[in-house]
Amino acid sequence: MIILDNISKSFNATHAVKNISLTVSTGEIFGIVGPNGAGKTTTIRMMTGLLTPDKGKIIIGKYDIVNESIKAKSILGYVPDKAFLYEKLTAREFLIFISSIYRIPKSEALSRTDEMLELFGIKDIEDELIESFSQGMRQRLLFASALIHKPEVLLIDEPFMGLDPFGVRMLKGVIKDLSSKGVTIFLATHSLHIAEELCHRVGFINKGSIISIKTKEEIKGMEGGLEGLFLKMGSE
């Protein structure tokens, strides 16, 4: 479960996020869409603990991300929008490193590493340095690293960046599967059709505030679907 309780964040007197309150239930996939610079990434960064809210509270699972950050982070998986990784490690070494800092016991870490490498289709390049990976391969590795410790909450910023159609299909399956197993997923995206297809609810953010939240069913019943709604909201 994720709870955002009246959170705000400013940078040099500019409001990036204003008084957002939101609850995402266990197993729910919540999507957030909005124009560039609307506050999506800032919201996610606050949820990961990278930024501290000026005001309000963020609860991940049952932990406050500011006051109980280590506990909150150990049940959190995060996939950022840009895939900066340790370029001089191999994919396998990177996953082992992530397992270590999440305190996964050795035998489990090794089997999870193999499992993730297989699942995301990077087993055959597991011993290559990350610096030689394409954008799509990096994105797959990011997902593998975000899931290796079996997080209860998954935060994703632009999930399908650089992925080929096979990758997109595979990843959609993974996200749905995680949700069915009770993982709470919060994703920010510009791909409206994917948000429409995957998310149980979609929030529209503009100028730092969530201006509307619609359920899958509500979106389906609307003329022009999510795209029509987005264009209408974005121009307001």
């Binding site: 960064r45 490193f97 305190r103």
Partner: protein, 551 residues
């Protein structure tokens, strides 16, 4: 492209660098960095005083004073020649082949010649700016000591610039050729080759240049005099010949400045020809190519959380050419350092009181300088090494305490081992055993702890997660400030130790005042080193908690 257009293209390419520099220097930034600038100026002043004193002493030596002074001048440039060439080779490889802006530049409609010129400028600045900024106190000390006219200062600055351009031209040419010659699928092979080549050259050069008999005062002076830096084929000889006549007010000849100028142009042109010939092919060879890494002997090792970051950093170090290639520069300097101590004629100087103690102290001061420089390169830069992947640490359940601790040990262990071996060997070379050996090793251990803490802390306070190459991190203003503060800690500690030793050896029977002075000295040493170790790491930890990393 016509000449005018070429010049325009160069300035166009360099514009983003200059604009970035301009945008990063705001009033706020300058004010924040003011204390560091003040430290730099203070250090400059101390360096000037030190050089002036040494020069006055040398010039006062009967018969040989003036010749020795000139010899010291040419020896300084002779050492700089080697250092700058090595530094230029290493930075050229980073600037020409490993910089992050290369793919962008190569994809644009820009002539290779213009990219080469841009990178030549970058390599020149990166390899020589530190030396260029530290040499003026030496030039001024010589000028004041000889009462030189104003023209001397202009001449030496101009000649030194040309001297540095010659070394840059040579370094860049060698870098292009070596990258072409070695199987460059792994860039580290290239640098390994350069390293072996340089070590062997330096070893035989020094071995051949210094005569072995230095056991008597006469032998010592004649050895210094016959140190063969005076070959008319060397730029260090040209700069000495260009500057010394005006320094001694005995006239001015344009001959040697012209030689310097023509050689600077020649070597820059040579580097451009080498670049035009090899750069394209070399670039294709150094691209990451899906190279498979063999699993280590320790492949089955699974680190727990406390050692995971350390293990990751060690692996990354040996795979990152930008990092470990710097070991060569330091290795070469240390080799020269140890060799110099081996050559000191302790027996010939045995008539002076406390000569062994003084030499051990001088050794510790110089080791402190090496410690500060090595720490700037490796410890200060260790936090920034996380680069743009720092978000991984910030979003994982790793506390900043644990992170900083890991970075501390990553730097502390190798640097301490290096320094202990260095001081042990140099003391052995001077036959300084017993209590002097124990005291020096103990002092070095304390200094390694405090300077490593200081470096880790400073690196965390001023992290630079977005860098072109890792060498630029230690050469930033924060890196320089760290180096100066680290060296100040070394000097303060050693001064207090010297004071304790002085009080101890003066008093036949220790009275209360002497005991109090010694106790105060010890407390001060502990306090200074404890603060240097603890405070920056504490502030650094807080600063890192506010950092998002660049994502």
């Amino acid at each position: 492209m016509k000449m005018g257009q070429e010049d325009k293209a160069f300035f166009l390419l360099i514009r983003p660098k200059l604009l970035s520099l301009k945008n990063s220097i705001g009033t706020k930034v300058v004010l924040r960095r003011l204390p560091f600038i003040a430290i730099g100026v203070g250090f400059w002043f101390l360096f000037y005083i030190g050089t002036y004193k040494v020069l006055s002493y040398v010039r006062g030596i009967e018969f040989f004073g003036e010749i020795l002074s000139r010899k010291l001048f040419s020896m300084t440039f002779f050492s700089l020649l080697g250092f700058l060439i090595i530094s230029s080779i290493i930075t050229s490889i980073s600037s020409f082949y490993l910089s992050k802006d290369i793919p962008l530049l190569l994809s644009k409609p820009v002539e290779i010649r213009d990219i080469l010129r841009l990178k030549t400028f970058e390599a020149f600045m990166n390899s020589s700016w530190m030396v260029l900024s530290f040499m003026p106190p030496v030039f001024i000390a010589y000028g004041i000591s000889y009462g030189a006219p104003a023209g001397y200062y202009f001449l030496i600055l101009g000649c030194f610039l040309l001297f540095s351009l010659i070394t840059a031209g040579i370094g860049i040419t060698i870098a292009h050729i070596l990258t072409r010659l070695f199987p460059a699928k792994r860039t580290r092979n290239v640098l390994f080759g350069i390293g072996v080549f340089l070590f062997l050259s330096l070893y035989f050069l020094i071995k051949g240049l210094i005569p072995q008999d230095m056991s008597t005062p006469e032998g010592f002076i004649s050895s210094i005099m016959s140190f063969k830096t005076e070959s008319p084929m060397l730029p260090s000889y040209w700069i000495t010949e260009a500057v010394f006549p005006i320094l001694k007010k005995s006239g001015f000849s344009i001959f040697y400045p012209i030689i310097l100028l023509s050689n600077a142009l020649f070597f820059l042109l040579l580097s451009e020809i080498a670049g035009l010939r090899f750069y394209r092919v070399n670039m294709e060879r150094v691209q990451p190519s899906g190279e498979r890494i063999k699993r280590w002997i320790l492949g089955g090792y699974y680190p727990e959380i406390n050692t995971a970051m350390f293990y990751k950093d060690i692996k990354t170090f040996f795979r990152d050419t930008g990092q470990w290639s710097q070991v060569f520069i330091i290795g070469a300097l240390i080799m020269i350092y140890v060799y110099n101590f081996k050559s000191i004629p302790i027996n010939a100087l045995s008539g002076f009181p406390f000569i062994k103690e003084i030499m051990v102290l001088v050794n510790l001061v110089l080791s402190g300088l090496v410690l500060s420089a090595v720490s700037a390169r490796f410890i200060y830069a260790s936090v920034s090494l996380e680069g743009q992947a720092f978000w991984i640490i910030r979003t994982s359940p790793v506390g900043m305490n644990r992170f900083i601790r890991s970075k501390f040990f990553y730097g502390f262990i190798p640097v301490t081992l290096l320094m202990l071996v260095l001081v042990f060997l140099t003391n052995l070379a001077m036959n300084a055993g017993g209590i002097l050996m124990y005291l020096s090793l103990g002092t070095v251990l304390i200094l390694c702890i405090s300077v490593s803490g200081l470096g880790t802390g400073f690196g965390a306070i001023y992290p630079k997660f977005k860098y072109e190459n890792i060498a630029s991190v230690s050469m930033s203003l924060g890196g320089m400030a760290f180096m100066l503060i680290a060296f100040s800690v070394v000097i303060a500690t050693l001064s207090l130790e010297a004071w304790i030793f002085y009080v101890y050896s003066l008093e036949d029977a220790m009275d209360l005042s002497a005991k109090i002075q010694i106790a105060l000295g010890v407390i001060m040493i502990i306090l200074i080193n404890a603060i240097a170790f603890y405070l920056p790491m504490r502030i650094g930890k807080k600063k890192l908690q506010e950092q998002t990393g660049i994502i």
